[in-house]
Symmetry: C2
Subunit: 69 residues, 2 copies
């Protein structure tokens, strides 16, 4: 398992947190996703044999948020 | 049909808008609910023979927002 922190813009409330965490956890290979609303950081735990960074970014962007790093 | 504008605090995004509009429209007697996020105003169209102001306030508060007027 690897860990990465994504920097996401536009998450403003608990619904946003749930959407982003749900989208990431819905990907095969993602075992954990935790949003910190105050900082806009999302800590993701994943298996890089199963899921790419690009797929994770796309999952977040599909929910309507920008991944800035 | 009557119209009232509720003043709601804490709505920050499209999810919040959907939650509040959905909760109000789910009440018998509410035929329309429209949130303006920028102002925090919610325009509600309702039948006062079927639904009370108290029930509408409660529906919004159950979603986690404060009705201030």
């Amino acid at each position: 398992m690897k860990k990465v922190t994504l920097d996401v813009q536009g998450m403003s409330c608990g619904h946003c947190k749930s959407s982003v965490e749900g989208a990431l956890k819905g990907l095969d290979g993602v075992s954990g996703a935790e949003v910190d609303l105050a900082s806009g950081k999302v800590d993701v735990t994943y298996d890089d044999a199963q899921v790419t960074m690009a797929a994770m970014r796309e999952a977040v962007e599909e929910q309507g948020y920008d991944v800035v790093a």
